[in-house]
């Protein structure tokens, strides 16, 4: 005995009875086909931003609320842009613990907002599991997109990273990918690991000091390196993570200077990677802390492409979750 009641198995709660995405909470548990479907659908939106009329009417009449309990500029902006390009109405609400600090529970906040008849919540929250919790609370017609919860998941960021990799290196089965930096606190790293494993990359590495590599991470199917030169050898893709300043106070690392010395990406360091390796970063960049400016702005860098792909991915995920009744629309068919 003694498995408690499986009242809400984590990995399936984002799918509806037909196995379609109802919410987008995590990349964990999604199959290669499901992930590929998201990427393919995002391709159809990739050109929308370059048209004279940057809009498709897929979500006309829908209301989307960006619910940010944690500050964010770029993620919120790209979600807002994605929603607007789908012709949805968008509300931005930066709660940042104001209402919740007043003793209002997360559930109460949510029900209040739901009474405003939103169709989708895009949620960012400092606590791991917050998006799943919110998804369990909302009415059946409401979708939830996880825009980052604690150290748990940031699935749209992972998908836009994977989208960017696919544009440059379409055959995942040949790829060696290294994720470098603060794996322990990174929701991006976790979501990337699940997505890249499901898509069948040949080798997936994580690189960082022991203080920033979480316990048991190898059970997610990654190889662990503590030395950057070894970790970067012959890689096709380098994904750098942002180093938060509070890691010094928490005694994870001594200083930014020493971190850069040991884990900062420089031209010299990158020399051991494949000659056509691409360098990625979810932003915002700490130049001279985790990455040298020469690399960030250099020929290997695809960092700015990541940002524009973020809009296409977020459009795809929003359209898939909210547009389920409408069947498989594409931007081309509906553009008008």
């Amino acid at each position: 005995m003694t498995t408690p009641q499986q009242h809400d198995p984590d990995n399936n709660s984002q799918l509806d009875a037909q196995g379609r995405l109802r919410h987008f909470l995590t990349t964990e548990g999604l199959s290669r086909d499901q992930l590929t479907q998201i990427l393919d659908y995002a391709e159809t939106f990739a050109g929308v931003g370059e048209r004279p009329v940057k809009k498709v009417p897929l979500l006309r009449g829908k209301t989307i609320m960006n619910l940010f309990f944690e500050p964010s500029t770029r993620t919120r902006t790209t979600f807002e842009l994605a929603a607007k390009r789908l012709s949805a109405d968008v509300l931005n609400l930066n709660i940042e613990a104001s209402a919740t600090k007043k003793g209002e529970t997360l559930a109460d906040t949510l029900h209040t907002l739901e009474a405003m008849h939103c169709d989708m919540f895009v949620v960012r929250h400092a606590q791991s599991g917050a998006a799943h919790y919110i998804a369990r609370q909302v009415a059946p017609h409401v979708s939830v997109i996880n825009a980052g919860d604690g150290s748990h998941a940031h699935p749209t960021q992972a998908m836009l990273d994977v989208f960017t990799i696919r544009q440059h290196k379409p055959d995942f089965s040949q790829l060696t990918v290294a994720i470098v930096g603060d794996i322990a606190h990174s929701r991006v790293a976790r979501s990337e690991i699940h997505a890249l494993k499901a898509l069948g990359v040949k080798t997936l590495r994580v690189v960082g000091p022991r203080t920033l590599i979480p316990a048991g991470v190898e059970q997610l199917g990654v190889e662990v390196f503590h030395d950057l030169d070894q970790g970067l050898r012959d890689v096709d893709v380098v994904m750098m993570l942002r180093l938060q300043r509070e890691r010094m106070a928490g005694a994870y690392i001594p200083s930014e200077h020493e971190y850069f010395r040991r884990y900062g990406l420089t031209e010299a360091r990158l020399a051991v990677a494949k000659p056509d390796a691409i360098v990625m970063h979810p932003g915002p960049i700490n130049r001279g802390v985790e990455i040298d400016s020469q690399i960030a702005d250099g020929r290997h860098s695809v960092i700015l492409q990541q940002v524009s792909h973020g809009i296409a991915i977020r459009m795809a995920v929003m359209a898939m979750t909210l547009g389920r009744q409408g069947g498989e629309n594409t931007a081309d068919e509906d553009a008008g």
């Binding site: 005995m1 408690p4 009641q5 984590d10 559930a107 791991s128 599991g129 929701r187 979480p214 997610l220």
Partner: protein, 428 residues
């Protein structure tokens, strides 16, 4: 009142009894186990197919009163305890106000005596306000009735304070009930540090949060001569440290919470906040080591570690919920269900919830010895108990076992020869 409990399987580990027998109760005391001439019972209970065991003795039940009556009250939890076969329980000092003055002890004693359902004992605070800074008035607390002292789940960071507290408790001849957690290694954590916490992005609590604290406590116990009981061991390594100290001659006992013998960190994967415990549920290897420790005597007792919560405390993302599970009414079925694991026979398991915890608390309880107070539990080990979140007498609905059907229905609980619980449905 003369009562005869007929034909049950009597398991009384303290007296090494395990046989089908009749139990005779007269004037609130055990009159005989086996046979007795000229006994005219006022009432006869047919215990055919049931186990007749001493009333359960719980080393740690949170009643939530005083201070958290929105979670549970002495009344609600003592009724739940009686329904779970419990006749004696011990409360940790982390009420609000903390049990660091005689007034709080008196209040708890008065309220529980009025109900008369369960014998309630209290642990006093080891440090004032459980703040870990200055000593509580331990001798005053002992005089008020506290059976030991402890600091509950508030680790004492300062080793000098812990050393003095041990020394002073030893002077007062008080046993220290020590929850072994290193404050800094535990800080902020909500889950066993390992593959599951990594997957869920939950702040981890490493095993060393426990083992470092156990090591420190054992060394200080050797130095100070205090009588030490380690509460809620969750790690294999912790048990090894305790065993090594015993081999050096330290008389140290240890208990485990019932949930830790069944559940593991894998149970967190569906983010069920009812599996949020402190210390955290650990991995299967540690869970198995606790079971083995129970079999070989490394673990002295099993407690319910009952911690009822209100719904709000368990609402929200896992990290935002309060730790603890309501277990009182599942404690005995979950204990019986361990029978069959290597070395875990029924007498050993019954001892772990009756005579052994009574010995740790130094109470004349947990046995069916003739002449002792008739504290008895009659349980049908095969009768199903369906666990649902809204059933049960505890005000806490936070059971990790909701949806399960356990085996082991408590038919009768008797304290001092009076029935405190009777389930006459006999449906099975």
């Amino acid at each position: 009142m003369r009562i005869l409990i007929r034909n049950g399987r009597v398991i009384d580990p303290a007296n090494d009894i395990d046989k089908t027998a009749d139990v005779y109760i007269s004037d609130g005391r055990i009159a005989a186990v086996g046979s007795m001439n000229d006994f005219q019972p006022d009432r006869t209970i047919d215990a055919d197919g049931c186990l007749v065991v001493p009333g359960l003795v719980d080393l740690s039940t949170r009643l939530r009163e005083p201070g958290a009556e929105h979670k549970a009250t002495i009344g609600s939890e003592l009724r739940a305890a009686a329904a779970g076969g419990v006749t004696t329980l011990c409360m940790p000092p982390d009420t609000d106000p903390v049990i660091d003055t005689p007034a709080v002890v008196d209040m708890i004693q008065r309220r529980s005596r009025q109900l008369g359902l369960v014998g309630v004992y209290t642990l006093g605070a080891l440090t004032k306000g459980l703040a870990g800074e200055t000593l509580a008035e331990m001798d005053t607390l002992k005089a008020a009735g506290c059976v030991g002292v402890g600091n509950a789940l508030r680790p004492i960071a300062n080793s000098q304070v812990l050393r003095r507290a041990f020394e002073y408790a030893a002077s007062c001849e008080l046993k220290v009930f020590y929850d072994a957690e290193d404050a800094a290694l535990r800080a902020g954590g909500v889950a066993h540090e390992g593959a599951v916490s990594t997957r869920l992005g939950l702040p981890g609590i490493p095993e060393t949060a426990e083992t470092v604290a156990i090591s420190r406590a054992l060394l200080l116990a050797e130095q100070t001569g205090v009588s030490l009981h380690i509460c809620r061991v969750t790690t294999a390594r912790g048990l090894e440290l305790i065993q090594a100290a015993r081999e050096r001659g330290l008389a140290v006992t240890a208990d485990v919470g019932i949930c830790y013998l069944h559940l593991t960190a894998d149970n967190l994967l569906d983010a069920n906040p009812d599996c949020h415990l402190l210390p955290p549920l650990r991995d299967a290897a540690n869970r198995d080591a606790l079971r083995a420790g129970l079999a070989d005597g490394g673990v002295t007792a099993i407690c319910s570690d009952h911690q009822p919560h209100d719904a709000d405390a368990k609402a929200g993302p896992f990290v935002a919920t309060e730790p603890g599970a309501a277990t009182l009414e599942q404690w005995l079925p979950l204990t019986l269900q361990l029978a069959g694991h290597a070395g875990l026979e029924l007498p050993r398991l019954i001892a772990a919830v009756t005579s052994q915890p009574a010995r740790i608390l130094d109470l004349a309880a947990g046995t069916l010895t003739v002449g002792r107070s008739a504290d008895i539990c009659v349980v049908d080990p095969l009768a199903p108990v369906e666990v649902t979140a809204d059933q049960g007498l505890s005000a806490g609905r936070n059971t990790p076992f909701a949806g399960h059907t356990l085996k082991g229905r408590v038919r009768y609980t008797m304290r001092r020869g009076k029935f405190t619980h009777a389930d006459e449905s006999h449906s099975a």
